[in-house]
Symmetry: C2
Subunit: 296 residues, 2 copies
């Protein structure tokens, strides 16, 4: 069993840390927010007085933070207190450039580093069914895998430093645009007098098939488990989709990649979130595309 420091005990980090405790690891945690610390303590996380104290005796450090700047700040503070040869796993979803800077800083400090953003949301974090997309050396991946398996069911080594972040934003860029055009098709079908079920029946077994259609269908009915059947309660909140689409756009700009539909998808989710739908499931954008109902 490992001695693990867990930095960032928010909506995702707290249940992830709890699963590490359940698996028998010794987990020292830290967060800047008092309520987060109290909740994590209730699940057996030993709350440290500071992040540096949490990492001092750890062989493994896990960070789960909101954005690249938080990760770089935290790592700058922690690395000098972390044992040489320790493993530092960053599970945050952040920009690729910051992820690579974190790897460089870790390398300079003599620790092994892995970027390992997740998909699966709070449900996956609680249930221990997250997918981890990992970037880093074979050695870092091999050491991290048994620990990540306590928090997820699918642990994928995508490549070197930053590859985990790259895989996540590329996947979610596909997802965001595919969901929007699937919503557009349902909204168009309605106005053409084609039933949602008929479009689903054709496209689900044809070239329009996608996860957005057949697992997460944005209209109620065809896929009973999809958020459309519970008034678009997330699920995957539109604000988080927008975050990922913006990270994809940052990455595309930094390497000169052309992503016209990814850019348009980011703009459309920005409009949707600005219209006060950031907390709705991202498939709820179909209502935005339908326009406001006419007055009777």
């Amino acid at each position: 069993m490992s001695k693990i420091a867990f930095i960032g005990l928010g909506n995702m980090g707290a249940p992830m840390a709890a699963n590490l405790v359940k698996a028998g690891h010794s987990v020292a945690g830290f967060d800047l927010v008092d309520a987060a610390k109290t909740a994590a303590a209730a699940s057996g996380v030993a709350i440290a007085a500071s992040a540096r104290e949490a990492v001092a005796s750890a062989d493994t450090v896990v960070t789960m933070l909101p954005a690249g700047r938080h990760v770089l700040t935290a790592h700058a503070e922690l690395l000098s207190a972390t044992a040489k040869g320790a493993l530092v796993i960053d599970c945050s979803t952040i920009d690729v450039d910051s992820a690579r800077k974190a790897h460089e800083a870790g390398g300079a400090a003599g620790v092994l580093t892995l970027d390992a953003p997740v998909s699966g949301g709070v449900g996956g974090a609680s249930g221990g069914t997250l997918t981890f997309m990992c970037g880093g050396s074979d050695e870092a991946f091999a050491r991290a895998k048994p620990i990540l398996e306590n928090m997820g069911k699918r642990i994928v080594h995508c490549g070197g430093a930053g590859a985990g972040q790259a895989a996540k934003i590329c996947n979610n860029m596909i997802l965001g645009a595919t969901m929007i055009v699937t919503c557009e098709a349902f909204a168009l079908a309605e106005k053409l007098g084609l039933s949602a079920q008929a479009l689903f029946d054709v496209s689900s077994t044809a070239s329009g098939q996608s996860w957005s259609l057949t697992t997460y269908c944005p209209v109620p009915g065809p896929v009973p488990a999809s958020p459309a059947n519970r008034d678009y309660k997330p699920g995957f909140a539109a604000a988080l989709m927008l975050k990922d689409l913006r990270l994809a756009q940052e990455a595309a700009s930094s390497v000169g990649a052309l992503t016209p539909l990814g850019a348009e998808a980011a703009q459309l989710y920005a409009l949707y979130v600005a219209a006060d739908h950031g907390g709705d499931d991202f498939s709820g954008i179909i209502n935005f595309l339908r326009g406001a109902p006419k007055e009777p």
Copy 2:
């Protein structure tokens, strides 16, 4: 067995008519192009002197023409020569408004009508494995089904007049945009140093999954049968995808539907076709998104 008139013996019509002959039907055909008539005759189609002559003794008329104006012109010419109670199946992919006008004209002339556009391309037409998306009455569909089964393997009744065309353009609008964003993701991944195989491995079993990715993967390697593995020879030519995306945009305009990504996809395929790639497979747009290779 039926007496069938087949109007339009082009790349799609000729092999479809040949399959009707093979199934034992008596098929009288007509086309404006001499070479098309010669080719169809070789497969057992009886070539008529005119379209009116072809339909004169038919219980079933099939039209397979390039666009709505051709269908409306042909039907205007043919309907007065067609027996009352005959079945007129239009397999062309045309705009929804024209399809509905064709139904109206047929109804006024006392024939049963079905719009039944196909997917599956020339390969599906030759192999008899097309999908037919059908719009029209239950009676018209019931009469057409056994005949369409001689040319296809999946015959779907989508709804009333025009529903077949609506289903096809909604499906292909999803397809066009999903393919583009999938290409964008592969092009972005390359520039970020994430391998195509790694992105495929993550997304093919995650929320980025689609037919465009897992059946028709736009990079060589992961899906050996996809056109990417044969230098983007179609497959489904970009010019035909552009046609369908424009039909979707026409339909969206006519009913006031909002389809921002569908519109952008149409513009991007228009740029691709204008750059002399109309004959390439539509997944070849990935090369367009990559930009020109730099001089060494």
